[in-house]
Symmetry: C2
Subunit: 194 residues, 2 copies
């Protein structure tokens, strides 16, 4: 368990025992119950989270109270309300546990400290930020070019386990379609598969 | 002119003359005529570009040949087909000049060299990547939650000069609406404003 953080970082940069000890002391561990909130809209955003186990949703509630899902975060994902976290403003998004979830927590001050003191960690976070940026651009492209059916099939292909772990109503909020449209896609897909 | 790169970088990190000279030697300057391509679909992606003057569009052509606009890049913007550039794969996007455009060019090898040799530059690119990631997330949110009219008004608010510089057919491809829908929004808006 304790070593997940090190394994995760060392997929990008190698750390000495001393360097890892320095990095590790800036992280705390937190447990969230299914349904619990790690980030609550309008509250301060204290941490960026790295998921150890479990599943989170990053959501926006519009004026009518309808929930829109920006992303799902599972094992090995970093997630927070980044604009609010970086600018030390209250959250405009919420981060909620879909399953019982265990996370590492890193404050902005700690993030800045470990980046400044250890270039390897600045390099690690640059890699992560670039990948996050590319994944977001891919999602923009799928909104511009793909039909709801194609977006559904992209999720099937890229995150197959998500379909087992996420209730259909949440998947619809992620794809930006109604629950009825999703049920139709689901039925058609199973018919094709069978 | 020559100093734009330095001014741009020093909005984030201060460089000594020696450090700037080291960074500067990794950039070349290129001129693109209106209509010219900096990145051509299926060709190698040699550079990330920083716009000195002019205007670019990053586009995806779908199977039917229809053009979808992922972003407009103007003065002070960095742009490339990032997934292709980082992975040294052929482009799946095109980057085209909407106006006569002047850019700095940076190869992936040079990017990696200046990041490795100068932590300040790794820090600079981390800031840029984080901002790019946040801007993309904002755009995803606007696809999930905003009507075409609201997306149009967001552009009016955030990039007012874009409306003067970009033909309406391109703006429609950026907003993900038909040209007819955009004309209706445009007329309604001018009526409200008048």
């Amino acid at each position: 368990m304790e070593e997940m953080l090190r394994r995760h970082i060392e997929q990008v940069v190698r750390l000495s025992d001393e360097e890892y000890a320095f990095v590790r002391q800036h992280f705390s561990i937190k447990y969230g119950k299914k349904g619990g909130l790690l980030i609550d809209k309008s509250e301060p955003v204290r941490y960026v989270y790295l998921v150890i186990s479990g599943l989170l949703k990053l959501v926006y509630h519009d004026k009518t109270g309808r929930e829109h899902i920006i992303s799902f975060a599972m094992e090995d994902w970093w997630e927070t309300d980044y604009p609010a976290w970086f600018s030390r403003q209250p959250a405009s998004l919420s981060l909620q546990c879909i399953e019982d979830t265990q996370v590492y927590c890193l404050s902005l001050d700690s993030y800045q400290t470990i980046c400044a003191k250890l270039q390897k960690m600045e390099h690690f976070f640059l890699q992560k930020a670039n990948r996050g940026h590319m994944a977001s651009q891919e999602r923009i492209l799928s909104f511009l070019t793909a039909t709801p059916r194609e977006r559904y099939e992209q999720v099937l292909r890229k995150q197959p386990t998500l379909l087992q772990r996420v209730p259909k109503v949440l998947l619809a909020a992620y794809l930006g379609v109604s629950r009825e449209t999703l049920s139709r896609l689901w039925r058609n897909n199973n018919r094709t598969a069978g």
